[in-house]
Amino acid sequence: MTQYMLSVVGNVDDAVPTDDEMQEMFATVGRFNDTLQEAGKWVFAGGLAPITTATVVDATGERPTVTDGPFSEAKEFLGGFWIIEAADLDDALDWAKQGSAACGAAVEVRPFDAASQ
């Protein structure tokens, strides 16, 4: 088994969902999470607050700095993620398809470095 991170790709140009849409998305994602847990593939998951809440800390220089805003100027940002256990990439891709459909966004699939586990 290998662990994979399924990152939900948000985009600053996406329309802000209505409350009803949010409720429905929470419900479908909730059902997907249940399926993941029942299948024994679940490790961890979470949705992130809006990208406007991000703060960057950099302690690589002489003294740590703290600045407002996302680190990257890119339009895409991490909206949330799942960490799952999967047999191989095909297995992970199958779960990612379900996750993408559930949350209504593209999902990036990336393996964890085996040496770090």
């Binding site: 088994m1 290998t2 047999a87 191989d88 990439l89 095909d90 891709l93 699939v109 990336r110 393996p111 470095d113 085996a114 040496a115």
Partner: protein, 410 residues
């Protein structure tokens, strides 16, 4: 039965090695679970073969000899690797610990391997390169020169793809029945791409890369022989027939002056009748199975074109009917364009020109060339000259350019 030994030179040995490469490396990958280990071990075995076989003769079972020799090398390597860094060695493993799945009567490791090489998680150029490297046994230098990229670029592309296969664990198996048809389409698409690049090089000095086209045919024959394990989908036969029927015309396709010769002007006595016969037999078998797909329909069109040694005797009504079917299963502007060329022969240039003008293909040389031909037939000489010039401006292929320039002048 063993071939008389010492007579063979190292070229002949290299041929045997290339023929057996895919089979041997696929078996080693299954056994040792890692493409890098398998390739390195086989590489060492090939070096030994190149020293010994010209002297001692090619062994009666060259694949078996290579497998045994490479296996010893792989085991040595894995033992060293394990001692050095157990965790990393484990990470590089392709195999998982689940028991082998019931994937049907798949006996050939190459079938598993080609699905790995053509996995949708890899970029298309990487799929093409890996397939040529691992299944075709071409060296990185050969692949780089076929695609006119620097060897270091190609080496990087292949290394990165192999790294992704190992670390993201792209599986080494025939896909589940639900995904099989789609994934096989992906494999055929890679073979088709290799053939097309061989048929009409997109750039460079040569009019075509016959070696690449022949390699694509060889690989498609392999896939055909191993696709028995998944019910021999007729599109595999269709693709092979398509390649054979266009390969058969190669001797007539490029004139002595290096210029393109169109189908209607070709000296048909130069065609390879053996390949045509084989292609026609495959097309007949496809028709019998009656499950038409895009490759089979294109092959059927080629079969009509190669059915007569007189261009004027071509059954254009039949060609058009097949294009009508092809447009339904594969509705692309290029197919619409080719259909319009057949339409011109059936309903005249006026009707066809209206169809062509409605297509958005201004970056595609054959679109301009087809317009030019129709404009000329309609007596619109000046418009035709402009269209030939536009066609020349949109292609880099020297044989195509020479043909277009000559047409513009006449």
């Amino acid at each position: 039965m063993p071939a008389p030994a010492a007579a063979r030179g190292s070229d002949a040995v290299a041929d045997v090695v290339r023929t057996e490469y895919g089979r041997v490396v696929a078996g080693l990958i299954r056994r040792y679970g890692d493409i890098g280990v398998a390739e390195d071990a086989l590489g060492e075995a090939i070096v030994i073969a190149l020293q010994r076989w010209p002297r001692d003769g090619v062994p009666p079972n060259p694949a078996g000899w290579l497998t045994t020799t490479a296996s010893r090398k792989a085991l040595d390597h894995l033992r060293r690797e394990k001692v050095r860094d157990e965790k990393y060695a484990e990470a590089a493993m392709l195999t998982d610990d689940t028991p082998p799945e019931a994937s049907g009567p798949v006996k050939d490791d190459r079938l598993r391997l080609i699905f790995t090489c053509c996995h949708p998680a890899l970029a298309e150029p990487a799929r093409v390169a890996l397939t040529l490297r691992l299944l075709g046994g071409l060296t990185v230098a050969e692949i780089a020169s076929a695609f006119l990229v620097p060897e270091t670029t190609m080496a990087q592309r292949i290394t990165r793809a192999k790294g992704k296969i190992a670390r993201a664990r792209i599986p080494y198996r025939v896909p589940a029945p639900d995904d099989l048809a789609e994934r096989l389409d992906g494999v055929l698409a890679v073979l088709y791409l290799i053939y097309n690049e061989g048929y009409l090089s997109s750039s460079g000095d040569g009019a075509d890369r016959q070696d690449l086209a022949d390699e694509a045919i060889r690989l498609t024959r392999q896939v055909q022989s191993i696709a028995v394990g998944v019910g021999s989908p007729p599109e595999v036969d269709g693709l092979l027939a398509l390649m054979l029927l266009s390969r058969a015309r190669r001797p007539a396709r490029i004139g002595a002056d290096g210029r393109w010769v169109t189908l209607s002007e070709q000296d048909r006595t130069l065609w390879d009748l053996g390949l045509i016969e084989e292609g026609h037999a495959l097309v007949r078998e496809c028709l019998r199975r009656n499950a038409p797909g895009a490759y089979q329909l294109q092959a059927a069109i080629q079969a009509v074109h190669t059915d007569t040694l007189e261009a004027s005797a071509t059954d254009w009504g039949q060609v058009l009917a097949l294009y009508d079917q092809l447009v339904r299963v594969h509705p692309t502007p290029v197919v619409e364009l080719n259909r319009a060329v057949a339409l011109a022969e059936v309903d005249g240039p006026h009707v066809a020109l209206a169809v062509i003008d409605a297509l958005e293909l201004t970056a595609y040389a054959p679109w301009h060339a087809s317009r030019a031909e129709l404009l000329r037939r309609l007596g619109r000489a000046e418009d035709a000259t402009h269209a030939y010039a536009a066609a020349i401006a949109t292609t880099q292929n020297p044989a195509e350019r020479a043909w277009l320039a000559a047409r513009r002048e006449t």
